[in-house]
Subunit: 139 residues, 3 copies
């Protein structure tokens, strides 16, 4: 069984945002899969997806702080500067975190660990809605 | 053909550990798949999985040294500090390396390159056993 | 439907290189898949794959500059130095970017965003051809 759909995510501020519940609500088809895989792919180059701790909001704040520290704006070696100081760091962060995540499906649900949630990582200061392609397969 | 199981990995010290043989030994079902994919997912937010050089142990030591340098403990901007100085860096490292790996299956085996092995990346000082969900599919 | 093949990529200079068109040209089987997934896996530990901006070559130059800054050569803590100063950084960069990418297939094509392209990330100064295993599945 294959199922694929595009999901539009709401525009969010720069930072790391939990989207587990929002995505699950859009995917009633999950319940039809006993064993399978979910693939979630973001069609952008300055936002990304990852999986991490979903309980304490300070974790997500520290993600934003640390990624800004590790991938600073206005580095003297950047040449791609025409789209603003947040643009090139956004591309780098997106590549480091990745454009897709894959999650096992077990008994109709994402088989995540107790503390795992899905993050939308928005690396631009002013971004619109983002689109993800969700592909579910299994039987 | 779909096959899915949880595998408990032994508790290890903080650092990067080869688990290719240990995993393969738990997956006799691999031999039934001529062409397919293996997906290995870790159900934790402070440990991760990656694929890298499996021959020289000094590579894995250098991974630990460099990740400690790039994601230091006790950064002044960390707010999530209640679980110890190794906790927030562990979350960041886990996101950078990723919660899952996917490997092609060819003729009943992981189709890895000559020097590739699977790493369990343990980012906490004191962690217990870790659980991975392995999903094999193919025909 | 499953399809798997190894593709040899031409040797490239150290840096980040667009390979979307080159790969697509090797994969006429894509057209047979209405809904599915493409998995591309590199069988090496000092080169990697990622997806990012495919329009402006300065983005790829900045990737090389920033990764060199974030993962420098000749760090005093490196022990794995026998294969040259570019070797250990190459392993670290490869793990950070990853050994595989997965892309949704929709109506016979990679379902990439407008600005997304596939990068071959070559982290060694002198490398030969690189091999990727492409696994397509869907129906």
């Amino acid at each position: 069984m294959w199922f694929q759909k595009e999901v539009r995510l709401p525009a969010v501020t720069r930072g790391f945002h939990l989207i587990t519940d929002l995505l699950t609500a859009q995917l009633p088809e999950l319940e039809e899969i006993e064993v399978g895989l979910a693939h979630i792919f973001i069609k952008h180059t300055s936002a990304s997806l990852t999986i991490n701790e979903d309980a304490d909001p300070s974790v997500r704040q520290d993600f934003e702080s640390h990624f800004n520290h590790m991938v600073p704006e206005k580095q003297p070696y950047y040449r791609h500067t025409s789209e603003g100081p947040d643009d090139m760091p956004a591309h780098l962060k997106a590549a480091m975190l990745g454009s897709s995540i894959s999650i096992p499906i077990t008994k109709g649900r994402f088989n995540l660990g107790t503390w795992q949630g899905i993050y939308l990582c928005e690396h631009r200061n002013q971004a619109g809605k983002r689109t993800v392609v969700v592909t579910l397969q299994g039987n």
